[in-house]
């Protein structure tokens, strides 16, 4: 449904070349929600604009719903809905309803169909009662919902959602996530740009991590977690261990201590060395009271691959 082939974008800014998107390739199948995460300035929004034909790539191309973004841009535009996540894309003096009617009319929708579509979308997003409020008076949450409603007017097969829940209240964010979930169930293909990693974990089937224009890692969440050999191991000991023992533990990875709880947390760089770690503890005079291992969260994987960039 979406296929990127070595997509590259170089901007020229004040005689300097800025590499915004660097040979990015990936595929997203029908009905898949693909999360695009990465620090600010990683190239996520540029990538979305390339896919929506608003920017022309320097090299490479992409296919959306079978259409080439370079040669079939109008067909691509008919296949996508873009929620750009910016408030400055509506007419401030028009109400939410009037805005949706205007943009719907441009989509060549029949008057009655358009009216029904707007009504059902506003009701689904819980903003029907605010339909006559001027856009400029809408809350950020209402504006984001209208942004999502607009991109759903034509019920396109591909949705590009750029940070649809950023800076809004938890209830509005929850409502938007619910609708994204429903769209996924209906088989829509979605690229979801987000900074909210728990949102990505909840909604996305696959995730791509971008850093400095490159796609540094991508795959299903399960694969990402298993591919990263690091595990977080927390051990609680009978007594808090002496410095000499802690030094030996540091050979396995980064160590954090909580002396008051007699706990030591080891970022085990290679999960295959877990047995070796246990042997070391057993061979010492300190008894092990409890052990807990867990895979890294998406947030930790994200930081690992982006080296904490943007923090």
């Amino acid at each position: 449904m979406i296929e990127l082939q070595s997509l590259k974008k170089v901007f020229r800014q004040k005689r300097k070349e800025v590499l915004a998107v660097d040979n990015v390739s990936f595929e997203v199948g029908k009905g898949v929600v693909y999360g695009l995460i990465g620090p600010n300035g990683a190239g996520k929004t540029t990538l979305v604009k390339l896919l929506s034909t608003l920017i022309i790539p320097t090299s490479g191309t992409a296919f959306i719903n079978g259409y080439n973004i370079l040669t079939q841009d109008s067909e691509v535009r008919k296949s996508i809905g873009l929620a750009a996540g910016t408030e400055r894309s509506f007419y401030y003096r028009l109400s939410g309803w009037q805005n949706l009617w205007f943009f719907g009319a441009l989509q060549k929708l029949n008057s009655n169909d358009l009216k029904n579509r707007i009504e059902s979308l506003l009701k689904r997003l819980d903003i029907y009662s605010e339909k006559d409020k001027d856009f400029m008076k809408c809350s950020t949450g209402e504006k984001r919902k209208l942004d999502l409603a607009r991109c759903l007017l034509t019920d396109p097969p591909v949705l590009l959602l750029d940070e649809p829940t950023t800076s809004i209240d938890p209830y509005s964010a929850m409502k938007i996530r619910e609708v994204i979930g429903e769209l996924k169930d209906k088989g829509r293909t979605i690229i979801l740009v987000t900074h909210n990693l728990s949102e990505a974990e909840r909604l996305c089937d696959r995730v791509g991590i971008m850093s400095e224009g490159r796609l540094v890692k991508e795959g299903s969440l399960a694969n990402l977690k298993t591919e990263v050999p690091t595990k977080r191991v927390t051990i609680r000991l009978e007594i808090f261990p002496p410095e000499e023992f802690l030094q030996r533990l540091k050979a396995f990875g980064e160590v954090k201590t909580k002396p008051e709880r007699r706990e030591v947390e080891i970022m085990l760089l290679d999960s295959k060395k877990l047995n070796e770690l246990l042997n070391l503890i057993n061979s010492s005079d300190i008894s092990l009271e409890a052990i807990q291992t867990r895979e890294l969260s998406l947030e930790e994987i994200f930081i690992k691959y982006t080296h904490g960039q943007g923090q």
Binding site: Y91, W101, L106, T154
Partner: protein, 267 residues
Amino acid sequence: MNRVIAFIYRGWITMISYKTALVLQVLSMLVTTASFYFLAKLVGFQSNNPYLAQYGGNYMSFLIIGVIFQSFVSVSQNSFSSTIRNEQLMGTLESLLLSRTPLYQILIYSTLWTFIFTLVNIAIILAAAILVFKVSLNVNYLSALIIFILSIISLGGIGMISAGVIMVTKQGDPVSWFVTMLSAFLSGVYYPIEVLPKFLKSLALILPNTHALIALRQTLTNHYSISQVKGQILILVIFALVTIPLGIISFKLGFDRSRKEGTLSYY
């Protein structure tokens, strides 16, 4: 049809939401018309001025027609670029471009409201001129309409060139500035071109605006038929055949350059 209505509706809602500006604009029109009246009174309504003889000798009607024409010149030449500029400022340009309506249609529909509003302005000025200041016209409606439409089309080509420029420069459009300024100065809006020195008069005759304005005055005040203004019609058709393709190419180039630079949403 829905799309035409949508653009007009958007223009209407936006305009009435700025009530004070609307009232001030109508007042400005009336004050301007009154100013013209006193200016005409100074010059003399039925003067023996030889320059005005071919236009019926009435400076008030000469001036009113010039101002009406200049309003449409301004709309034709500037509305495309000002539409692009406004959408850039409001941040709505990208949303418009993502719709299923082709770009050239968006550009044309976006200017509809400005044309309608200008027509209303002109109707008010004309009504005031005829009813209050007793300006008399002798109109050949068919030939006036043809001249009027041809003027809009041929000048619209320049407007599209301007829109292509503004797509890239964001603010500051030398094409529009140059043509609008030349039009006001040389094409005979406020005075007949016969008062100009010889070299400026030659320059004025290169402008399509000059020919359009001469023909419009003759059809509105002297009841000239199509055959009597066929020379001007031919000039306007030739001009349209040159400027419209140039405008389309220029706009497409500006649009693609903006997409290449990733600056569609910049302002």
